[in-house]
Subunit: 305 residues, 2 copies
Amino acid sequence: MRGATDTGAEALGAAFPEPLDCGDGRQLVVVIDTLVEGVHFAAGTAPADVGFKALAVNLSDLAAMGADPRSARASVCHPGGGEGPWLDAFGEGLGAAAARFGVDVGPVVTTRGPLCVTVEALGSIPEGRALTRAGAAPGDSIAVTGTLGDAGLALAGVAPAAPDDGPWLQARLARPEPRVEAGIALRGLASAAIDVSDGLAADLGHILGASGVGARLDVEKLPLSRVLAGNLPPERAWELALASGDDYELCFTVPPHRLAEAAQRLRALPGGVTVIGIVTAALGLQCLRGDGRAFQPAPGYRHFS
Amino acid sequence: MRGATDTGAEALGAAFPEPLDCGDGRQLVVVIDTLVEGVHFAAGTAPADVGFKALAVNLSDLAAMGADPRSARASVCHPGGGEGPWLDAFGEGLGAAAARFGVDVGPVVTTRGPLCVTVEALGSIPEGRALTRAGAAPGDSIAVTGTLGDAGLALAGVAPAAPDDGPWLQARLARPEPRVEAGIALRGLASAAIDVSDGLAADLGHILGASGVGARLDVEKLPLSRVLAGNLPPERAWELALASGDDYELCFTVPPHRLAEAAQRLRALPGGVTVIGIVTAALGLQCLRGDGRAFQPAPGYRHFS
């Protein structure tokens, strides 16, 4: 997920997101995120894609908690105010994502202002079963859904050698598929989970920090799409997979005795699953090649921490 | 409430806000709204006031439904990104409003972008008891909480004759008090309700439209604060009370046989209550003086419809 500060709310002792008891053995979780033109999407991005993605990124945050998505609402600032073709197309994309992932959305709240879109999504989880970032333990396997780095390749403006791959690559950036079913399948199995919207290294780092552990990754096991692997040298592809972000896959840790069951459940779902490393007692994130040599991303690589 | 379009979501048939069954005899309602610098608050507004107001305006929308507020989350776009003194002060104001109205708030989600603030708030209501805009019937009384036009006076830059009144007036604009208790007290009594954030005439117009009725208001009964009444001629004060907006009082309709009980309940609460008119079968909104002459606001008055 994108940046969350403890500004102000820390004084109130609130967890984020804070599950709300619902009285029927389930808890509610609510997530909220903003996409800004020129920051999170380029000027001129198709408004239907903005609508789709604005909901998808929030559903990805819900998926990382293992929540069933229920409903969502959008508040849009647009220079033209409350109506026009941009908003119509935005609403179509939002509606398409809502239909695709089985979520109810209310009418779009609009106001005049610089173009940005905030979506809030509400999900529910059986009480006490929400996945968190804090449960990873040394010896747990680290796994991810889907493939990593595709959105980064699209953002980098690399045109795939095979022109037919272009639309697929653009869709990985513009219409991400939140791993809702995978998150639900991981309830009771994963010891920690997060979505890798900020890039695997940064988001896995959040799990490591919250859990007080470190990790060792085998970069040669990072799941790369045929398109990414076929259009970049391995080192560059690994950099994107580790750090480019905007992937909306889940990264999770799972204790050894649960690994087989987790893998079996997730293999049947879209995107599948790949084990990429192991949680260590030693703090820090080590990235190794298959032969044990350290993999060093290019200095100053964006987001890499 | 600010503009809500049916963009996109209409195709899904979703009501706004759509109550969610919670399984314990209560329903959840979620509201969301965005405040934009230069549109909803002036550049240079104290960030703590922005934080307070961003939550308060959403709690006002919940109050208009008769909901008990439960929790809220904020997503902030700020040119400086995720930290700094602006966000610290914003969080303090948000936390102050949360403490004042008994709401849990999560940590503030932040992103880089033009300054705007979106807050989403969640409330609950006993099943089937949510106040709506659609139940007003001819013969119902029309009433409002508090006083109207104060924020408009502050926005107009009028300095009160008594300097001591200045801070009170600024607070009416900067730190509105959503009528949460009044909304709860009106459950089962009011036939329709709305908050008058866009101005009484416009927001009462939403009730009339949704209910298929009209209304007659006695402008001499409009509740004016001592500060507003003491610093403007009556006609100008009525214009502000009818149309300036940003007041965050509740306007509601109540059937004749419920009026005494509603008035009794609300008189005991902050802001009190004033009956200002009656619902009519004839469509349209008539504004009359006490002697029956029509009151015509100055032509082109902002928002007046």
